[in-house]
Amino acid sequence: MPDVTTDVRIRPLDELDLNGIVRINEKITGAYEPDLWEKRVMFYTRRDPGASQVAEANGKVVGFMLGDCRAGEFGLEEPSGWIERFGIDPDYRGQDLGRRLFDAICAHFKAEGATSVRTLVDQNDAPVAGFLKAIGFGESSLAALERKL
């Protein structure tokens, strides 16, 4: 069991955080998916460097939140922050790291002129939906629609 009582630092994502993110995802889902995460990290690194955040303890990534600031999509001309993926190492849960990551990514979005932050959630995923509600996400007039093909 790692020592989870040490200070955790929140900082912007960089390309050397990949192994940490892959490892956290594997701990949560059981799937080892380096190719997927290399694509996602490259996407956010070029798209909005400085937005995505990681939590680091003893030099190790123990949490991450990936997102970017966008405008001009879905008829939303004003810049909005979008959060796509996040994860906390199960050994480090219960320390409010998700909220700290969220505060850091939102500070970046605000600095870029965003006045709102958006995400999509599977309502059947109660832990994630509960977390998003706890950090202040609420119903939106925009709704995710889907039709099977």
Binding site: L16, D48, P49
Partner: protein, 447 residues
């Protein structure tokens, strides 16, 4: 998306000069713009312009003038300060244009189109960074500290430089293969990240305001180096005969020493801090850089071991890596030397406190110069060991070992080719000169 930035274009004749320069030195620039949306969908379009961050601090954060208002014009600094800063800006400009010339030589050998377009985006952004430095040279009058050299002449000098005549050694080495494009981005652009980060505090506000937009773009450059290296490590582990850890190691051996030297002599850097231009001295910054490379290499090795032993958990992979690093032995047929290793800080140096020491990748000392050169030949790629750079290095090293020269004299004696006259390759009247240690010049070629 970055909303706190002002885009500035150079006066037309200088903007046109940069456009002209890229037609000769970056032939696929228009191809990149044509397919930008395919490879970088929804990203902001590339802008050939200077980007100035808005809303940064007006107060000097470090050095002898800490707490005073940041300087907005060269004449607000002492002549010593502005002269020193001018040299930094010119060196920075040289690196930006220099790296494009290096990338251009081998970018077409990229194994996949995506790789090529990643590299071309890096090149375009380096072009913008060079443009940014030209903006700093042209937007104010530096003539009082430039020895009467005008902004126009400084721009001409920078745009005249070619691989071999740039300010820093790392930008005077030809690439030998596409491996160099990738490893250079992972190692040398990482030095760029450090320099830009240190210069965010710069007491000259236009320089400080130039750094954040450049740094944001640098993040992609590092990823464009590290992610292909990770993918290659996976391929190598799975037995791809065309992709090996050895080829990456040889490229690391070529670039890491030059990267360390880009920070300047380990004993220096006080002036930069005292003048408020950077917030770290050379040794501190280069040590942090070296440690960051250690992390990068460990990450890539982790990727390799995991691909070689797919059943291993992350914890088991870490254990195996720790054990191999400790024992330098083998694990189920995987030797420690099959993995990437971070070259020792003293390895293959020709500048700084370790210049011309004979110390191997893993810190092993050599006493015989010919044994050492044979070792280097075995640990660098063939294209590089046959180069003029290696010939000059061997000559200088032999003169140090024989006692004919001190390391300091040998450092100064390394000649540089310098192109004189003619901003552009279209120019007919070009003279190549070899600069001596004492600043004297010998014409070596005229065309």
């Amino acid at each position: 998306m970055a909303l706190k930035v002002e885009n500035v274009e150079l006066p037309k004749k200088y903007h046109d000069a940069v456009e002209h320069w890229h037609r000769h030195n970056f032939k696929d620039y228009d191809l990149l713009l044509k397919y930008w949306d395919k490879y970088f969908p929804k990203d902001d379009q590339f802008c050939l312009c200077a980007k100035m961050e808005l809303g940064t601090t007006d107060v000097i954060q470090i050095g002898e003038q800490k707490g005073e208002k940041k300087r907005l014009k060269p004449e607000e600094m002492t002549p010593e300060q502005s002269g020193h800063l001018l040299a930094i800006i010119k060196a920075q400009a040289s690196t930006e244009f220099g790296s494009i010339q290096q990338h251009a030589a081998t970018v077409d050998r990229a194994p996949e189109d995506e790789d090529k377009f990643w590299t071309m985006r890096v090149m375009a952004e380096e072009l913008r960074h060079g443009y940014q430095m030209l903006h700093l040279l042209l937007s104010e009058d530096w003539s009082s500290v430039s020895g009467g050299v005008t902004g126009e002449q400084m721009v001409e000098e920078i745009l005249s430089m070619t691989t071999g005549s740039h300010v820093l050694d790392a930008f005077n080495l030809d690439y030998d293969s596409y491996t160099d494009n990738v490893v250079f981005a992972a190692c040398i652009d990482r030095v760029g990240k450090y320099q830009l980060t240190m210069q965010k505090v710069c007491a000259y506000k236009p320089m400080a305001d130039s750094m954040p937009p450049m740094l944001r773009e640098e993040a992609f450059h590092l990823a464009a180096g590290v992610i292909p290296m990770r993918r290659w490590a996976q391929k190598a582990a799975k037995g791809d005969v065309f992709v090996t850890m050895r080829m990456m190691q040889h490229a690391l051996n070529k670039w890491v020493p030059r990267g360390l030297e880009m920070f300047g002599d380990e004993r220096g850097g006080d002036t930069n801090v005292n003048f408020g231009f950077k917030d770290m001295k050379n040794d501190e910054a280069s040590s942090l850089y070296h440690e960051e490379l250690r992390k990068m290499i460990r990450d890539i090795n982790t990727r390799y071991i995991r691909a070689r032993f797919p059943d291993y958990t992350p914890e088991k992979t870490e254990q195996v890596l720790d054990e191999l690093e400790r024992s330098r032995g083998t694990h189920h047929g995987l030797a420690w030397t099959d993995l990437l290793r971070l070259p020792d800080k003293r390895f293959f140096r020709r500048k700084g406190v370790h210049a011309f020491q004979m110390v191997g990748i893993d810190g092993e000392p050599f006493t015989d110069v010919e044994d050492w050169l044979r070792y280097l030949a075995a640990n660098l790629n063939d294209g590089y060991i046959a180069s003029r750079d290696m010939k000059l290095y061997a000559e200088a090293l032999r003169s140090v070992v024989s006692g004919e020269k001190t390391p300091a004299e040998a450092i100064k004696s390394m000649p540089r080719l310098k192109r004189v006259g003619g901003t552009c390759p279209c120019s007919k009247g070009v003279r190549w000169v070899m600069e001596d240690a004492d600043g004297g010049q010998t014409t070596v070629a005229v065309r």
